[in-house]
């Protein structure tokens, strides 16, 4: 019989306690939501501390707590350092967030920008990419929640997955983006403290010298800076991270909800706070051989080492940290995706004359619907977290160039931007299946960039920034 790091009753007690507390907090925060703008963008009035915390906490996903140690276990030091380079996404988005706020002071979503800047063809391609990515991420997070709770405590997959989804839908439904950002702030503190405690206890108990000696003797490749697969993985991971952040409404809706002049500093601070987290979670995996821990599946390595070093206290700590990481990403993605559907599909295509209250009502129904659809898709455990995410790399990396060029330069037009995103995605997917996951995002970004460059050379018309101001805003 498998011995779990945490008994099921304790896990259930923690998870139900957290769920009730967060939902109550969401209801309390939701009292201030009087309009759709309040609900979707927290009144566009989020201050620096909350802004930086939500940027950092949302980027700390189940990937940071599970996949960073997994990649370190598989690819060694480069896996750990390479994963931390995903912070570049937040750091480089900082100036872009400032520009977004400047160009679209009354905008709602990333889709708004693509539609106004590039027209309907590019917008349609962009929406397909966004939907594929959002569902891939939502389903992978829901599944990761269920799998992780089951691995740590033996709690049934369906129960764990259902509770975590119901909790996130619950507090976002009542509190909107305000609740998402406020809970992110608390979750960010829990994550930072939890990860730091595990790393400190690890160094104190196992010691750096003994870890290095064990790795040098039995697993030398993990310390090799010329590890070929790891060298290949490095830039692919960077482009994947950049694509995720640059295109996703999760980050655009935050940029639009922050107070004026806060976005730049908040994303910069969030990125710098996030940077060491994969190093710390990855380092945990390097200690595994010294502790005699060789997991059944590589993504179990982080929780397995933490539980081994810290015992039951460690298991509870890991449980809470990972639970917070999952919740902080799930709620953000649910809110941002329902905003995208409400604004880009319902308001722009189905009911252009919808009132503010109708938009808010639709947004809530949409959120609930997304939660139910995610739950249904999570039921069959269709794929692993890694498989789902790597596949999405080919999609999101194709949006990097059209977004960066579209924000700052006027020469690129819609047809080329649309073709760049579509061709980048298709060629990236071909590379994913023919070569491997470690080149999909890189190839997608390169192809999309090349088409954008051709588009700039051949296009004579200059875009007017005033066209971004819709309905006389």
């Amino acid at each position: 019989m498998t011995e779990f790091a945490l008994d099921t009753q304790t896990a259930l007690f923690i998870i139900v306690g957290f769920a009730l507390a967060w939902i109550a907090f969401g209801v309390w925060l939701g009292r201030k939501n009087k309009s759709h703008e309040d609900f979707a963008l927290a009144g566009r009035n989020v201050g620096f501390a909350f802004a930086a915390a939500t940027a950092m906490a949302t980027w700390v996903t189940s990937n940071t707590t599970l996949v960073a140690p997994q990649l370190t276990y598989q690819l060694g030091v480069w896996g750990m350092v390479g994963y931390s380079f995903a912070a570049l996404g937040l750091l480089l988005f900082a100036p872009m967030a400032k520009r977004i706020k400047q160009l679209l002071p009354q905008g709602y979503t990333s889709g708004d920008f693509i539609r106004l800047r590039y027209g309907r063809f590019a917008w349609a391609v962009f929406l397909v990419i966004s939907v594929v990515y959002a569902f891939g991420w939502l389903v992978s997070l829901g599944m990761a929640g269920g799998i992780l709770l089951e691995a740590l405590s033996g709690l049934d997959y369906y129960i764990g997955m259902t509770i975590i989804l119901a909790m996130c839908v619950g507090y976002t439904l009542f509190g909107g983006l305000r609740a998402v950002i406020a809970t992110d702030f608390i979750q960010a503190l829990i994550i930072i403290v939890g990860v730091a405690v595990v790393a400190y206890w690890l160094i104190d108990n196992v010691g750096l010298t003994s870890i290095h000696t064990e790795l040098s003797q039995a697993h030398p490749q993990l310390l090799d800076l010329l590890f070929p697969a790891a060298v290949m993985f490095l830039f692919n991971n960077i482009f994947f991270g950049l694509g995720e952040i640059f295109h996703s409404n999760v980050w655009w809706s935050r940029a639009l909800s922050f107070r004026k002049d806060v976005a730049y500093k908040a994303y910069l601070t969030g990125g710098l706070l996030w940077l060491p987290i994969p190093i710390v979670t990855g380092f945990i995996a390097l200690a595994a051989p010294q502790l005699g821990i060789f997991p059944a599946s590589a993504d179990m390595i982080g929780p397995a080492v933490a539980s081994s070093v810290l015992g039951k206290t460690g298991a509870i700590l890991v449980f809470i940290v990972v639970f917070s990481a999952l919740a902080s990403s799930l709620d953000s993605l649910l809110a941002a995706s329902s905003d995208l559907v409400t604004q880009d599909i319902y308001h722009k295509l189905i009911k252009k004359t919808a009132s503010d209250q109708q938009l808010m009502r639709f947004n809530r129904y949409c959120l609930l619907g997304l939660g139910v659809m995610t739950w249904l898709l999570c039921l069959p455990r269709i794929a692993t977290l890694g498989a789902l995410l790597n596949f999405a790399g080919a999609f999101v990396a194709s949006t990097i160039w059209p977004i960066v060029i579209g924000l700052y330069w006027r020469r690129l037009q819609g047809t080329f931007a649309g073709i760049a995103m579509a061709a980048g995605t298709i060629v990236g997917l071909v590379a994913y299946f023919w070569i491997g996951f470690y080149v999909a995002a890189l190839v997608s970004c390169a192809v999309s960039g090349l088409i954008c460059a051709i588009g700039i050379v051949f296009n004579k018309r200059q875009f007017s920034w005033h066209e971004l101001q819709e309905n006389g805003q």
């Binding site: 830039f235 059944a296 599946s297 590589a298 397995a304």
Partner: protein
């Protein structure tokens, strides 16, 4: 058919049944005593791989895997404990080369045969080419972003 022939036929049938029972009992006893290992059949390109264990009876826990460069296991490179009652182990950090893996329970070899795994890393030129392409693309993106940002600040 004489009565002797009938008796002989019945005797043969009984003997055959007895032998069949004995053989199946022996096979069952052997399967409870041994583990079947399986690993990657193709070359491993990134230094990590999964070894699967089949027919592991509870009596064989705790189980460990031994890794060696030689089929005779004259020198053991690594001894890897199998976690809990899982039926697979992810091994990592291997340099290019041939490795043999067998299962051991209380210093007794319990795997029917040792498996052979070949690790052959990607050529470094291939990795460096992709790295250089990525670095160039990233540099271009960075320059575009910096120039765009400076232009936007100037126009503020």
């Amino acid at each position: 058919m004489t009565s002797f022939q009938v008796w002989l036929k019945s005797y043969n049938k009984a003997l055959f049944a007895l032998l069949s029972i004995l053989i199946s009992c022996s096979a069952m006893a052997q399967s409870e005593d041994t583990v079947v290992l399986s690993g990657p059949t193709e070359e491993v390109r990134a230094g990590y791989f999964v070894v699967e264990l089949q027919q592991v009876s509870p009596a064989l826990r705790p189980l460990t895997l031994q890794v060696s460069h030689t089929k005779s296991f004259s020198s053991v490179l690594q001894t890897v404990p199998v976690m809990g009652d899982f039926n697979q182990v992810t091994l990592t950090g291997f340099e290019s080369g041939h490795y043999y893996i067998r299962a051991v329970h209380q210093q007794r070899v319990v795997s029917q045969t040792a498996i052979e795994v070949t690790v052959e890393h990607y050529p470094i030129w291939q990795a460096v080419t992709l790295f250089a392409l990525g670095a160039l693309l990233f540099l271009l993106l960075l320059l575009t972003l910096i120039m765009g940002h400076k232009k936007a600040v100037r126009h503020d």
